[in-house]
Amino acid sequence: MDQNRRAFLKQSTRYVLLTGAATVAWEYIVAGAPEQAPNYRIADHWWGMTIDVDACIGSGNCVRACKEENNVPLEDGYFRTWVERYRVDPADPEHPLVDSPNGGYDGFPQIDNPGGRFKTFFVPKMCNHCADSPCTQVCPVGATFDSPDGVVLVDKERCVGCRYCVQACPYGCRFIDPRTHTADKCTLCYHRITQGLTTACAEVCPTGARKLVDFKDPKDPVHEFLRTHRIHVLKPELATGAKVYYNGLDGAVR
């Protein structure tokens, strides 16, 4: 009797607070499997990101929002996303001066650019959710895996903490969470995007430099964007199938 009353109250509260579709999805979301909810079809998506280097102003909003949203350790050295500042001497593009104080979490201190000699710009970095990800390849237990909708994820329950994936990622996107001793990285806010939201970093970007994109969605502006801009990925020579596309990426960026 007690159980029935509790179940009834729970169910009716949900109906009062949530819309119909959300009510159906709620069970799955609470269970941590939103992709199985009837309103999210995993086969309909192929996620990625576009980053417009020209638009980034180095506010650090994305870094702060990411740490907040995903409960990333606040210390330096643990970032799911970070921002780098480049100063390139046109006479010596091979040796750019790069800094990323605390990953850009606190924004960037003013620096001198005597006579405007240097070309300066910001480059947000994150997991590239590679289609042929080296990190997924090397995981000995398959704790790092590719979701069918194109996101590289880590199962913290399976990870043995061998750190091979950290070695294998050419972009420095992975770290070992000191609290769980397991590998951690950007999930492309999987818990959000499977509910129709954008990622935390894209949500807070003041200039719209970062955009979550769905390559399988014919109406997504990404197709137009890729057609009309000069696009580059990081370290293309490593053939990782990176799905974070940069607009206006300078050749000096590593």
């Binding site: 000995p140 237990v141 990870c159 043995v160 903490g161 750190r163 972009y171």
Partner: protein, 391 residues
Amino acid sequence: MPGVEGFIYPNEIELQWSVLIVIYPFLTGLVAGAFILASLERVFNVAAVRPTYRLALLTALAFLIVAPLPLQMHLGHPERSFEMMITPHTDSAMAMFGFVYLWYLMGVLVLEIWFDYRLYLVQTWKASTGVRRWFYGALTLWSDDVSPEALRLDDRLGRIITIVGIPSAFLLHGYVGFIFGSVKANPWWSTPLMPVVFLFSAIVSGIAIVMLLYMALSWRRGTRIDMVCLDTIARYLFYAFVIDFSLETLDLIHRIYEAGDSFGALDFMVKTRLFVSHIVVQICLGTIAPILMLAAVQLVRFNDVARRRIYAVAGTLTLIGIFAMRWNVVIGGQLFSKSLLGYTTYKMGFATREGLLPAIVIMLLPFAILAVLLKVLPPWSDKEQLSGHEA
């Protein structure tokens, strides 16, 4: 940031693989090398090295038992490591570890030692009483057939296992090299030469440690050192070393000559952060010096005492050099940023889980295990170390 020069990715502050991961390839290298020395006698009929045959096998076993320890100490979740055996991810080079390891331990080393010692085990079982009798009985699996027929079968099986064992030893250590060599993100590691270089450096270090152990144990037991045996081992050490050094030099020259994208970073490393451990310790002290010493013995006639001293020094330098090589690969490969724009340093703790203290303990442990093995399965008999199988 202290210890950091230039720019490194923010997630690169912490070095991922510590001194324990340096020890692991060093230990497996000794295993593979010692086994290959043992198989020289068994398969290639190099009768001169017979006195060290059993010692080499026991050395390999002692080091192999310890080999997984540094890995377990290093894992974030050692309790989950068995998942690699039950549900391995077949794309991963590392997922093979458990299978390669267990195959080599049970399928090769333990079996070969068992067949080789069966006669001794049965004799000891029959001749002893009490706990000792039960213990040796258990070791024979309570099978006491030592008819000439059975002994012939033991010998034949032992030979077959050795023949299977040689490629297995190559697999064991070549595979460790592959784990590093296949990481395309790391230009210091990523080379197809890595497994081959690992293998030959393994052979070198394994031969060196058996040579040193043979000398040390003979000295301790007050027995005469068989100089023909020692000279032969030293000659093989010299051959293996020349091949190993050629391969490593080829790798280095290739990098320097090709001067690819990563060369600037690596060049800087070898000239600064790795100068002492790479140029001084690994190449000059740990490779060129012992090679010259061993070459001198081939060319000039020294008396027995002088040769023994040269071998002792050369063998010790060899082990230091190969350890430095493992260090330079594992730690050296992590000192530069994947952005190739900066460098970091490795700060080793002392009494931490992956610090110097556990490293020292793990390095000493095989010797303790070997001491026990030598008690249980003495590799020598009073008749100047007859081997269990027929000549």
